[in-house]
Structures are given as structure tokens and as C-alpha cells.
């Protein structure tokens, strides 16, 4: 909470600095009877920035470094023989207990005398740290303010400086998206490499058995981590989904783009958009309580044994989920085919369907293929529907009426519950995640490039 108060105070001082800068620039203009380079607001903003930015930067750096420094000092102060006797893990636990005591909370089993002593020391250090932070920040804020305010002159190009700061801030924001990708790759690569120190990549990528025992069953009972059953399950469900979604979605898009009267288009387009936004957990539940039992009964009627939770159930519902996605993407692509091409075919005496099938669709083909690839990537990465409706049966088999398991289901299974970043049972989730990421990345990038080329063709 004290951090929030600190930032609030800083903002308050910045507001004051803004005002000071504003009035000062007006005064300078009046005094020297000249036109300032920038409007008064920019001088105010610049003074505020000079006041706030360095102090805020310091705050960030400090919040990152100070706790580590304090921990180090507290550890040094602990009896050396005690530290020596403990493993790293025990030391971390102890430090956590000490800091809890220092915050005035109770710890399980009560604090030992050493811990109490260290906690006192830590509390003192923390108080000192807070006061010194406030003092240094105050000096920097006031220093920046005074410096900038003095500096105000007609020649000072305040607007350009402020705008440069704004541009940099905007650029920094767009770096977040890049860092996200880097973060995904690095974190998954890191954890996956840890996993591969337990299980060789060949065993993982080529293994045909998936049987990870529990981590509690001891180091020797490592279990088998073969990716293939999961990959195959993923493929099976996705293929069923695409078999449902592509024809229905594409024909819907064609109907909407070429045949539907405007009123129907106006009504249907937002509905389709909303459908694309329905949470997948809802589709999963729908699969579980409606489609699964329905298929199972249907199977009984025609004499096939269909499980309630099966590749078919999951695939079918996933297909339903992707229909709006396929149809709105294809719709965009189809409507981008220029009218002149349609007119060309119609003018030769082609019927509407001949125009669509022989001219519009071939022209739109690259874009539509891109849309299909995006749909495939979505099907492969879909989680909740398969968690609920695929049956979690990681065995290699070719029967769509049987339960299967997928990569995403397994990630959820392996990583929920207690999170232990040291056992292969948890770490395998990251190896699976990396596999998933690479597959979908491939599909996405091809799709994006294809679609982009297609767009440029008709721009």
C-alpha cells in the first residue's frame, strides 16, 4: 500500500510541476515580451516529466533491487554455521518465514529465536530502505522540477521534447507484444530443456506410449512420455472439426456474400460475430450434456458403439465452434474479390453459381486456404472442448468413436494440481506447449503470409 501512496504523491507533485511550468512560461513570455517556442502547456508537461520520470525510474529500479539486497544482508547476519547446514531450498523457506514475521504475521510452528532476530533486523532494514527511497525520490523530483523550471526560455523547444517522450512511450508499448512472443519462446524452451534432461527428445517425439506416473512414485518410476498418441488424438479431433466446419462455414460465407438479401446479411453478420465469441467452455459443456449422449444413442440405434466422450463428440462440437470463424474469415475474403471479375463472368452469360464456382472461388482460393489454415491452427490449440468431451484416453488408435486425448488436454492434466517445476511430470507440459506453439506458429505464419499476398493482389 505504501507503494501506491508513494506513486500517488509523485503524481500530485507532477501536477504541481505542470502548473509551475505553465505559469513560469507565461511569466517569461510576458517579461521578455517574446513568443515562446511552444505553447505554455508543453512547458508545463515538460517540467512535470522532468520531475516525475527520473523519480519513477528510480522507484522501479529500487523496487527490483532492494528486496534482493535486504535478503542478502539478512542472510549474512544469520549465524554462518546455520546457513552452511541448510540446503538452498531450506534457506529460501526460512527467508520466506523471516519476512512473514517481519511483516507481523504468524508462521507455522512459531518463529525460532534466530528467525525472530533476523526478522527484527529485516524490519529495521526495510524501514530504513523505505525512508531512504522516499528521500532520494523527493530529491530527484524536486531537483528535476527546479532544473526544468529554470531552464524555461523562449528558445527551449518544449513541444519537441514532450513529443519525443510520447513517441518513445508509444514505441515501448508496441515492444510489449514482441516481448510476449520472446517470453513465450524463452519460458517454454527453458522448461522444455529441463524436461529433456530427464527424457530424451527422441523418446518424447517418437514414443508411442503415454503413461506418466505420478511424481510421488519415486525417481525410478519415471513413466513414459511418448508424444505420438497425443499428436494423433489432436489430429483426429481437428480433422473431424474441419470436416464439419469447412463445408458449412464456407457455404455459409458464400450464401451470405453472394445470395443473402441485405436485411438477412445485416441480421446474420452480427449474430455470427457474437457466436464466434461464445466461450469454448460453453461448447464443451454442450458437447458433454447434449451431443455426446445424442451420438451415443444414435450409435446404439444403428449398432455402432459410440462413446459419450469421444473424438467424434469433441470434433463435431469443435467444428460447430469454428463454423462462425471460418465463415466470417471466408466472407471477408470473398467480398474482396472485385466486382469486375463477377461482372466479367456474368456478362458472358454465366449463371451466378457458375460465376462463384468458376471465377470467384478460384480467385479467392489463396485467401480461403489461409482462412482454413487459421481454422486448423485454432482447432489444434482448442482446449476446453476436448478437456470436457474427448475422454482423455492417450492411446494410439484409429477409431473416432473411441475416447482420445490431445496435446492441450494433457497440458491441463499435467499442470493443474500442485505445480512442481522440477519433475518431468510437470515439465512435460512445457515440452507439449512448445510443440503446440511450433505447430500453430507454422500454420499461422503460412496462413498470414498467404492471406496478405492475396489482399495485396486486389488492393
Amino acid at each position: 500500500m505504501s507503494n501506491l501512496a508513494l506513486i500517488a504523491t509523485l503524481l500530485l507533485i507532477m501536477a504541481m510541476a505542470y502548473h509551475l511550468g505553465l505559469t513560469r512560461s507565461r511569466a517569461v513570455a510576458a517579461e521578455q515580451d517574446v513568443r515562446m517556442h511552444s505553447r505554455p502547456g508543453y512547458y508545463g508537461a515538460l517540467v512535470a516529466l522532468w520531475c516525475g520520470l527520473p523519480a519513477f525510474g528510480l522507484f522501479l529500479l529500487w523496487s527490483f533491487l532492494a528486496p534482493q539486497l535486504i535478503e542478502m544482508l539478512v542472510t549474512q547476519q544469520l549465524p554462518t554455521e546455520l546457513v552452511a547446514s541448510m540446503s538452498d531450498r531450506e534457506l529460501t523457506t526460512m527467508l520466506r518465514r523471516i519476512s512473514a514475521v517481519a511483516e507481523g504475521r504468524n508462521v507455522a510452528g512459531g518463529a525460532t529465536p534466530e528467525e525472530l532476530l533476523a526478522a527484527n533486523h529485516m524490519a529495521r532494514l526495510q524501514t530504513f530502505e523505505l525512508y531512504s527511497l522516499v528521500a532520494v525520490m523527493a530529491v530527484m523530483a524536486v531537483g528535476g522540477l527546479v532544473y526544468a523550471r529554470r531552464h524555461i526560455s523562449p528558445q527551449w523547444r518544449a513541444r519537441n521534447h514532450v513529443e519525443r517522450v510520447i513517441t518513445w512511450a508509444l514505441a515501448a508499448s508496441s515492444a510489449v507484444a514482441v516481448f510476449t512472443t520472446v517470453g513465450i519462446v524463452l519460458s517454454m524452451l527453458g522448461e522444455a530443456l529441463k524436461f529433456f534432461s530427464f527424457i530424451s527428445p527422441a523418446e518424447f517425439f517418437l514414443g508411442t506410449t503415454w503413461n506418466p506416473r505420478f511424481s510421488t512414485s519415486g525417481a525410478d518410476a519415471q513413466g513414459e512420455f511418448g508424444l505420438l498418441p497425443l499428436l494423433w488424438g489432436t489430429m483426429m479431433v481437428s480433422i473431424i472439426a474441419l470436416l464439419v466446419a469447412i463445408p458449412v462455414g464456407l457455404m455459409t460465407a458464400i450464401y451470405m456474400a453472394e445470395y443473402a438479401p441485405p436485411w438477412l446479411r445485416n441480421v446474420a453478420k452480427p449474430i455470427i460475430e457474437v457466436l464466434a465469441g461464445i466461450p469454448t467452455i460453453v461448447y464443451g459443456f454442450f458437447a458433454l450434456i447434449v451431443i455426446g449422449p445424442f451420438l451415443s444413442n444414435l450409435g446404439d440405434m444403428i449398432g455402432i458403439n459410440i462413446r459419450t466422450t469421444s473424438a467424434l463428440t469433441a470434433g463435431l462440437v469443435m467444428g460447430i465452434m469454428i463454423i462462425p470463424f471460418v465463415s466470417s474469415l471466408s466472407d471477408d475474403i470473398i467480398t474482396q474479390v472485385p466486382k469486375s471479375l463477377r461482372d466479367g463472368a456474368l456478362g458472358l452469360g454465366a449463371t451466378k453459381s457458375e460465376t462463384i464456382r468458376q471465377v470467384v472461388l478460384p480467385a479467392a482460393l489463396p485467401g480461403i486456404v489461409g482462412a482454413f489454415l487459421l481454422a486448423a491452427s485454432r482447432a489444434i490449440g482448442e482446449t476446453m472442448i476436448v478437456v470436457l468431451a474427448a475422454g482423455n484416453n492417450p492411446v494410439l488408435h484409429g477409431n473416432p468413436f473411441e475416447a482420445v486425448s490431445t496435446i492441450t488436454v494433457t497440458i491441463v492434466n499435467q499442470l493443474t494440481g500442485d505445480m512442481d517445476f522440477a519433475s518431468p511430470q510437470s515439465l512435460v507440459a512445457f515440452a507439449l506447449g512448445l510443440t503446440l506453439f511450433v505447430i500453430t506458429l507454422g500454420l499461422n505464419v503460412i496462413a498470414l503470409i498467404v492471406v496478405r499476398k492475396y489482399r495485396q493482389q486486389y488492393e
Binding site: 472485385p338 461482372d343 466479367g344 478460384p362
Partner: protein, 279 residues
């Protein structure tokens, strides 16, 4: 390229003269006829009751300032306006005495008889061969591959494109130059052997050399086809048309032999337009 200068030698005035003889020859047979045609876009009236006869094997040009309804009227002649939802056509248009807006009239058949070439060349994203073969294939005009090959070759020859593309028939039509693309589109229309060819400002997207080639082509095609063209360019009308019709604000102001329109218009508006007072 050596043919490029050829049509230039035929100066506008000369072409008017040669057209006149054809006009008198063809006058006896009315190919298409419009009676009191009105066109509405929603509530706005774009064309206010046009009467016009189009004679067999003539080249008829529509001129007039932009927005005067000449393109709209042209597109009524093979019902291309059907593709625009809010467009409504009233009145009667006949082809060989048959009403083309009659309820039992088949648009597909009509468009096979009245072909159209658009302002911007719009070859299909297929090979040159497929572009030409598309129409005949659609209508089942060729039973064998050899027949189709014949149609493709003769259509390309008629469009004066054969020598330029005969070695790359399997390459995409979109890869040709603008002028070649437009001639490809004309060849595509010719391949169906329509009776009438409509051309909606066929040269407005082309450079002068390509324009000259297309004009020459129109001249040749008029031997066997009735051609109705919209043009922005009065010199072009003077060069290629037998008769010229002047449109203004949705009205057909006057129609007469090209010579007459350009030398001695009856209506003041035509006179003003031709002499460049507006347009």
C-alpha cells in the same frame, strides 16, 4: 508495334465518312429497340424515358458528361443492372423484336447474345487460353478439344492478339499489359459469338497506343457485330462510330449519324457539349 500508327492515319473526319456508307446499308434492320426506358436507383431516377433503335451491324456511340446515364442505359441492354439490388428498370427493350425484360426471358441466354466489355480490363485469374475458352465451355459451344482450340485461336485472331500470345497461352491473363488485357476481354466476349457487343468506355484505362489498337479492332468487328459503346472521348466517337447518341441528365438528347452530330447538331445542349462549353 508497327501497326500502332495505322489507325492514326485514319483521321476522325475520314472515319466518319466511311461509317456513313455502312449506316445507310444497315438501316433497314433494327437489332435492338428501347421504348420509354426509365431506370431508378432506389428512389432516384437515373434515366427518364429513352426511345432508341439500334441497327444491325452498326457502331453506335453514347456520349455525354459523366453521370448522364449513358453507362446505366448500356447496362440495361443485357440486363447487367440486375446485379445491382436497388436498380429498377421500366419500359421495354427488345432484341430481335423479343422483350428482354419479359418474365420468361432467360438472362443467361440474353447475355450470350448481347456480350459486354467493361471499362477496366477484367481478365479472370486463369490462363489466357482458359480466359477465352470460358464462355464457349460454359455454353457448351464446343464438343471437342479441337473445336475449342479453334474457337480460342479465331477469337484471339479477331482481337488481333493471336500473334502476341500464341506462344504463352498457358500463362495467366493477368500478366498481360493493360491494352492486351482489354483485347483479351474483347476476344473473350467474341468467343461466345454474340450478336451485339456492348462496350463501356473500353479505352478509358488504356494508353493512346493501346487505345488505337482497340479502336481498330472495333472497326473490324463492326463487319459482323452490332456494337454499342459508351465513350468519354468525343474524338473517339467521331473516329469509330456510325451513329452517335448524346445523353444529358438522364435524357437522350439526340441521336444521328456521327457526321451530323459533330458538324450540325440540332439541339443547343449537344452543340454546347461538343464545343466544350461543359462536360
Amino acid at each position: 508495334m508497327n501497326t500502332s500508327a495505322e489507325p492514326m492515319t485514319a483521321s476522325p473526319l475520314v472515319s466518319v465518312g466511311s461509317g456513313e456508307s455502312r449506316t445507310s446499308k444497315a438501316k433497314d434492320k433494327v437489332k435492338m429497340s428501347a421504348e420509354d426506358v426509365k431506370v431508378f436507383y432506389g428512389n432516384a431516377q437515373a434515366i427518364n424515358g429513352i426511345h432508341l433503335d439500334i441497327y444491325e451491324n452498326e457502331v453506335l456511340a453514347f456520349i455525354g458528361p459523366s453521370g448522364c446515364g449513358k453507362s446505366t442505359f448500356l447496362r440495361c441492354l443485357n440486363r447487367m443492372n440486375d446485379t445491382i439490388d436497388i436498380c429498377r428498370v421500366e419500359g421495354k427493350i427488345t432484341l430481335d423484336k423479343n422483350d428482354i425484360y419479359a418474365p420468361d426471358r432467360d438472362v443467361v441466354l440474353l447475355r450470350a447474345q448481347v456480350g459486354i466489355v467493361f471499362q477496366k480490363p477484367n481478365p479472370f485469374p486463369k490462363s489466357i487460353y482458359e480466359n477465352i475458352a470460358y464462355g464457349p465451355r460454359l455454353h457448351g459451344l464446343a464438343r471437342r478439344k479441337a473445336e475449342l482450340d479453334d474457337i480460342v485461336e479465331s477469337s484471339l485472331r479477331r482481337a488481333g492478339l493471336w500473334d502476341e500470345v500464341k506462344d504463352r497461352l498457358d500463362q495467366p491473363g493477368t500478366g498481360l499489359s493493360g491494352g492486351q488485357q482489354q483485347r483479351l476481354c474483347i476476344a473473350r466476349t467474341v468467343a461466345v459469338s454474340p450478336d451485339v457487343i456492348l462496350m463501356d468506355e473500353p479505352c478509358s484505362a488504356l494508353d493512346p497506343i493501346a487505345t488505337a489498337k482497340v479502336e481498330q479492332l472495333i472497326d473490324e468487328l463492326s463487319e459482323s457485330y452490332t456494337i454499342v459503346m459508351v465513350t468519354h472521348n468525343m474524338q473517339q466517337a467521331a473516329r469509330v462510330a456510325d451513329r452517335t447518341a448524346f445523353f444529358h441528365l438522364g435524357d437522350l438528347v439526340e441521336v444521328d449519324s456521327t457526321d451530323q452530330i459533330f458538324t450540325n447538331p440540332k439541339d443547343q445542349r449537344t452543340h454546347d457539349y461538343i464545343t466544350g462549353r461543359f462536360g
